[in-house]
């Protein structure tokens, strides 16, 4: 059987069920072989001079990026409000930015916390079963009652 493993074809080795048994090395070998086959089929231009020149210069045929020209639609004194919005959007933003003010919250954080405390309790009561609910109510009543303890009263003569 050991001899047979040398004779297994490459296609068979490439199948998924064979990949698990293979070592990492043989896997690498297979990958490299595949890559070599692909790169042989690709056509290259063997011109080293061209390659060295490729990275030299970037050619820019348009004036726009060179002179930092603005967007082509302009509107003055609010003649066309949509175009004014576009002008603000498309033109590069100025460096001086306004301070990002904190968002005005309608409800402050503390109020939210208080709300949540009571909310959780009421929702819990809503979904509790009847017996549990009775138990919850009794707890409240017991508190009131325990404050007024019955004390023995001496009978008056």
């Amino acid at each position: 059987m050991a001899e047979d493993s040398f004779k297994l074809s490459k296609n068979l080795l490439r199948m998924k069920f064979m990949q698990r048994g293979l070592d990492a090395e043989t896997k690498k070998q297979l990958d490299e072989d595949e890559k070599r086959i692909i790169s042989d089929e690709h056509w290259h231009l063997d011109l080293p001079e061209l390659k060295s020149k490729e990275n030299r210069i970037v050619e820019e045929k348009s004036f726009g990026p060179c002179e930092e020209l603005l967007f082509g639609r302009l509107s003055f004194r609010g003649f066309n409000p949509e175009v004014e919005k576009l002008m603000a959007l498309m033109n590069p933003k100025d460096e001086v930015e306004e301070d990002v003010s904190q968002m005005q919250t309608d409800v402050t954080d503390e109020e939210m916390a208080l709300r949540y405390e009571s909310l959780v309790g009421t929702m819990k009561k809503k979904f509790a079963k009847k017996r549990e609910r009775r138990g919850m109510d009794e707890d409240d009543q017991n508190l009131l009652e325990s404050n007024t303890k019955r004390v023995f009263l001496k009978p008056r003569d």
Binding site: V58, S62, F63, F71, R73, L74, F76, F79
Partner: protein
Amino acid sequence: MFSSLKEKIGEVLLPGDEFVFESEDTIFLTDNVKPERPVCGPGLRQSGNRLVVSKSGVLRHKPPHTFWMDSQQWRYVPAKAETVIGIVTSKSGDIFKVDVGGSEQASLSYLAFEGATKRNRPNVQVGDLVFAQFTVANKDMEPELVCIDGSGRANGMGVFGGGGLLLKVSLGLVRRLLAPQSDIRSDLEQLFPCELVVGMNGRIWVRASTIQQTLIISNLLQSCDTLTAPQRREQFRKLQKGGL
């Protein structure tokens, strides 16, 4: 090479002037210093291992490595990613043929509008004005226009028009109008409310609230080509005093 280029900033150069790549540049590649790639703008070309001037004009520079020739011309040559005003000349099948003032007409697909699908065709007629940008613009292929950006939004491009006037001006005036700090634009702002669409192909479309104001602005813009700055300011002042 940068040093020789930087020496000539602001000077008038003629086609045929060269800047040679010195061998010092290649040494930088072996160090871990990032090689600076010069960006050559319009008017400069790479030919072999030299940088050649192809248009006569003044050499301009923008830090860090951008150089270009500032020249004046009236004839527009399509360049990629430039926004232009085109006039629709014909509709054939799925594309519109648009005249942009170049050597041949550009094609604009009907799907290249915001929200256009095969069922929902854009409302574009022959003779409409479109504000579009080039996706393909080289000397070997027919130029192609689109009215949307990469993410499918119109961003102000598309059909416009109705009630305005289309002018042809020089390309230099268009660049002066759209420069970040522009005197002409600030002067125009003082006059009266108006709207302009400026195409890089030398076409400007003007609209103001009355026909008279539209005509005034169009005459002003066309004369700005030939007026010097003080003369232009004089003209604007006269108009403002005229109280139109």
